[in-house]
Amino acid sequence: MTGGLVVGLVVNPVAGLGGAAGLKGSDGADVQRAALARGATPRAGERAARAVRTLLSRRPGVRLVTVPGPMGEDGVRAAGAGCDLVHPPHAGPGSVTTAEDTRRAVRALAGVDLLLFAGGDGTARDVLDAVAGLGGQAPPVLGIPAGVKVYSGCFAVSPAAAGFLAAGFDGRSTAEAEVVDLDEEGYRRGAVGPRLYGSLRVPAARAALSGRKTGSSGTEPATAEGIAREVVARMRPGVRYVLGPGATTRAVGRALGLATTLLGVDVVELAPGGTAEAATGGGSAGGRLVAADVSEAELLGLVTGRPAVVVLSVIGGQGFVLGRGNQQVSPRVLAAVLGGRRGGDALGEVLVVLATQQKLAALKGRPLLADSGDDDLDRTLRGHVRVITGYRESTIYRMCAASEEYDG
């Protein structure tokens, strides 16, 4: 491996402050002040230093670029390393750093091969905002977990792991990872649950396939593509399919030859004369986009009085299926889709849940969660749902109302 890689670093110095202080997050200057008053010490810089040490020990030739002070330089120096500095304009008055500082730093570092950032889900959102503005010029990024809430898929499992991943990055192979965040206000009140904000390009994790049995097939069974093929194979003419947000549901759109949205709720159906077989048979002319990125009211209009199926993917690390990032699929909409039918079986016919086996495994036996906003509906959803995990592969998984799980 050559050392020509240029790695940028942005640290959110206040990330993680609120955690130890029991404040469940560090968003907002008030919370940060309160945390410091409770004796919290900043640790994001230290965690960034850990990642940098690992990165340099594995790949000494890497050139580091960062911004001055606690937002980067201090972490690099703490790792005993040198770096080049860029100087973005400082946003806020005084020494307090803000979300805008993070965004400016990311923009100033846009030219690197890989951008490391230390923080939590809130920081990831700021990075996402800045990266979105850069379009095709944006570098791949990788999160060093340093915040209180770290549920987004763009983070490595530990600071050292971030260093390893960065060191192994070939400059090319990337994958999409979700950025989710909790509403901290709600979280402090105990009403927890992430929203999906978008996706970032991250280095593709080392193909975890070395050491496999010789002759095993090269394709991993549990891919979004396999799931999408299965969904499309089950589609019937004349039925409207509501695709919730997420990368897996977007793969369903792709399998139908449609550019559906990552964050919005879209409605699709088989094209007139199109069949599921045609769509799955490699030709992807099978689908028709009825409406993209619909509001709750529009959705209600589209599914009322005609057969419809709701397809949702499991969001983030906590297992939310309903009520996070897909509030458009409201209790009224589900009632309309059910069209007077009752009971778990009817629900099983109109609600299709998607997740890879890996995503379910990451729940470590915890249930899927529903928080539709309607207690009666949530109670109906309680029980076991079929989750499509691949082509002609599914599992049956426990779902419960979010309120029960967190009261519990």
Binding site: R212, T214, Q357, V385, T395, R398
Partner: protein, 513 residues
């Protein structure tokens, strides 16, 4: 400075705690490349009799392209290859968890050799002894599993699972229930179950483990229905955890009209302790090359055995051996699914398994299970003392354990596969083909009854040493192996069918022309 090892310092110095192992590297060519025209192993004299005239339809136009070598070169070739190998006869082979690597007594090879010259097309009357062994082994396996009939035809465990799913399909079809198109399995059942069901055209429903590491029984309740053809389940699962509610699982599937099929490939922890039929199963299979000590034979031919209840006996692969009290003969069950491999079965392995069971007797079989479980729990105790190693779910294990290096890996960046490869520098290894990694950074150890306490101590000491190296010098561990025949393997050609060459002929066609 003199680095030489002492020639004859007496008494002989004690060995260091870890072996200074070094694997051979012979750079041995493929045997076809060693061929030279006209070389022979035996110089056969002229027959001194007229040649038999073969009919044109069976006569070759050109002689077969076999390698031509002298005996010495054949022997040397294979001995060299055998030195570039690890296996149960050479190392402490507890790292092939789920594979049940036990000692196969050499004397059984002598018995197997005794039948080597029997021709599969010989008339039944001339092979009564061999048929009797088939019959008696079948009866023993029926007794061990509680099933009524057993087919010994399959050449591997996966072939036996496939035969079972084919019987399940035939059974439902015969009852007009061909609409049953789903097979339920569990995440930690051996993946051959899902694979065979899918190959046979079924949709596969996989139950995930619950918070206790057991398949979620409520999920099974929700999964069963009019589409359920069967439950195909391993128990203890590949985690080594025994599902204590297995009877309820079987009952739920039966209530829905499905069949229950038990993957007992590895019955090493339950021999003589519990039986498939007693838990209500309709079908089961054993790998004779796991539980019953025949060689694995590198993927074949090994030997699998399918056990079935009376209701499923008509569908067994054929032929099977029948006994009328006086003589043995071959017959094909009335609704047989056909053959799963040519002829009756892998006869040398049938003989080995028969000899193994006869040598142990019923008491001995139970002792095998007890010793295997004891060995496993001893090794688990040792492994869990290594910082960074864990056994998720904190539950009792039967004959194997799926461990995790997650903690070590997060700290050091060294992955489980890399630790397994470094262990090979000490003459042992483990494999990590456990995808998807529900247990992160997994490794599965299964010490059967064959290993001594000293073996298990040595194995655990090697793992402890490598884990410690990972902390001190992760790069060094990632660079391993250093003392092995092959140093690093690039796996990418495995994904490219254009590179595959399962035979010499394919190799010549694809890569030399």
């Amino acid at each position: 400075m003199n680095n030489a090892e002492s020639f004859a310092e007496l008494p002989v110095a004690p060995k260091p705690p870890l072996r200074r192992f070094h694997q051979a590297r012979w750079d041995e060519p493929i045997i076809f490349e060693l061929s030279a025209p006209g070389r022979r192993g035996v110089a056969v004299p002229e027959p001194g009799a007229p040649l038999v005239e073969l009919p044109g339809s069976v006569r070759r136009a050109a002689p077969p392209k076999l390698p031509e070598l002298a005996q010495l070169h054949v022997l040397r070739h294979y001995l060299r290859l055998s030195q570039e190998n690890l296996g149960v006869d050479l190392n402490i082979d507890v790292g092939q968890g789920t594979c049940t690597m036990k000692y196969s007594p050499k004397v059984n090879d002598r018995f197997a050799a005794a039948v080597a010259e029997v021709h599969p097309l010989q008339h039944d009357d001339t092979v009564q002894g061999v048929l009797e062994i088939y019959w008696r082994l079948e009866r023993m396996l029926a007794e061990i599993s509680g099933m009524s009939r057993v087919s010994l035809q399959p050449g591997s465990g996966s072939a036996a699972i496939y035969a079972n799913i084919a019987m399940i399909r035939a059974y439902h079809a015969a009852r007009g229930e061909g609409h049953r198109d789903q097979v339920i399995t569990t995440m930690f059942s051996h993946p051959s179950n899902a694979a065979c069901a899918k190959t046979a055209g079924y949709e596969v429903v996989t139950l995930m483990p619950d918070a206790d590491g057991l398949p979620d029984i409520e999920a099974l309740r929700a999964a069963v229905g009019p589409r359920t053809a069967a439950l195909m389940i391993t128990n203890p699962e590949d985690t080594g955890i025994f599902n204590p509610r297995i009877r309820e699982f079987v009952d739920l599937v039966h209530e829905a009209g499905g069949l229950a099929c038990y993957d007992q490939a590895n019955a090493n922890g339950i021999l003589g302790i519990t039986r498939a039929r007693d838990a209500g199963f309709d079908l089961c299979h054993f790998n004779l090359h796991k539980t019953f000590s025949t060689p694995h034979a590198c993927g074949g031919p090994a030997a699998g055995a399918c056990g079935v209840s009376e209701d499923l006996a008509p569908f067994l692969p054929g032929p099977v051996v029948a006994f009328d009290g006086e003589s043995y003969r071959l017959e094909t069950p009335p609704a047989s699914i056909g053959k799963v491999r040519p002829f009756l079965g892998v006869t040398p392995n049938i003989v080995r398994a028969y000899a193994w069971i006869m040598a142990l007797g019923a008491e001995g079989l139970r002792q095998v299970a007890e010793t295997a479980v004891l060995n496993n729990n001893y090794l688990m105790h040792k492994v869990l003392q290594i910082p960074g190693a864990s056994a998720p779910w904190d539950r009792r294990r039967v004959e194997q354990v799926r461990y995790s290096w997650q903690e070590l890996s997060e700290e050091t960046g060294v992955h489980s596969e890399e630790i397994g490869v470094r262990a090979a520098d000490f003459g042992v290894h483990y494999w990590t083909s456990h995808h998807p990694y529900v247990v992160p950074e997994p490794f599965t150890l299964e010490p059967t009854e064959s290993y001594s306490k000293e073996d298990l101590d040595e194995y655990a000491a090697i793992l402890a040493h490598v884990a410690d190296e990972a902390r001190r010098d992760p790069e060094f561990v990632k660079g391993a192996p250093y003392n092995q025949t092959v140093h690093k393997i690039d796996m990418t050609p495995l994904d490219d069918p254009k590179e595959w060459a399962p035979t010499w002929r394919a190799y010549v066609r694809k890569h030399l022309s």
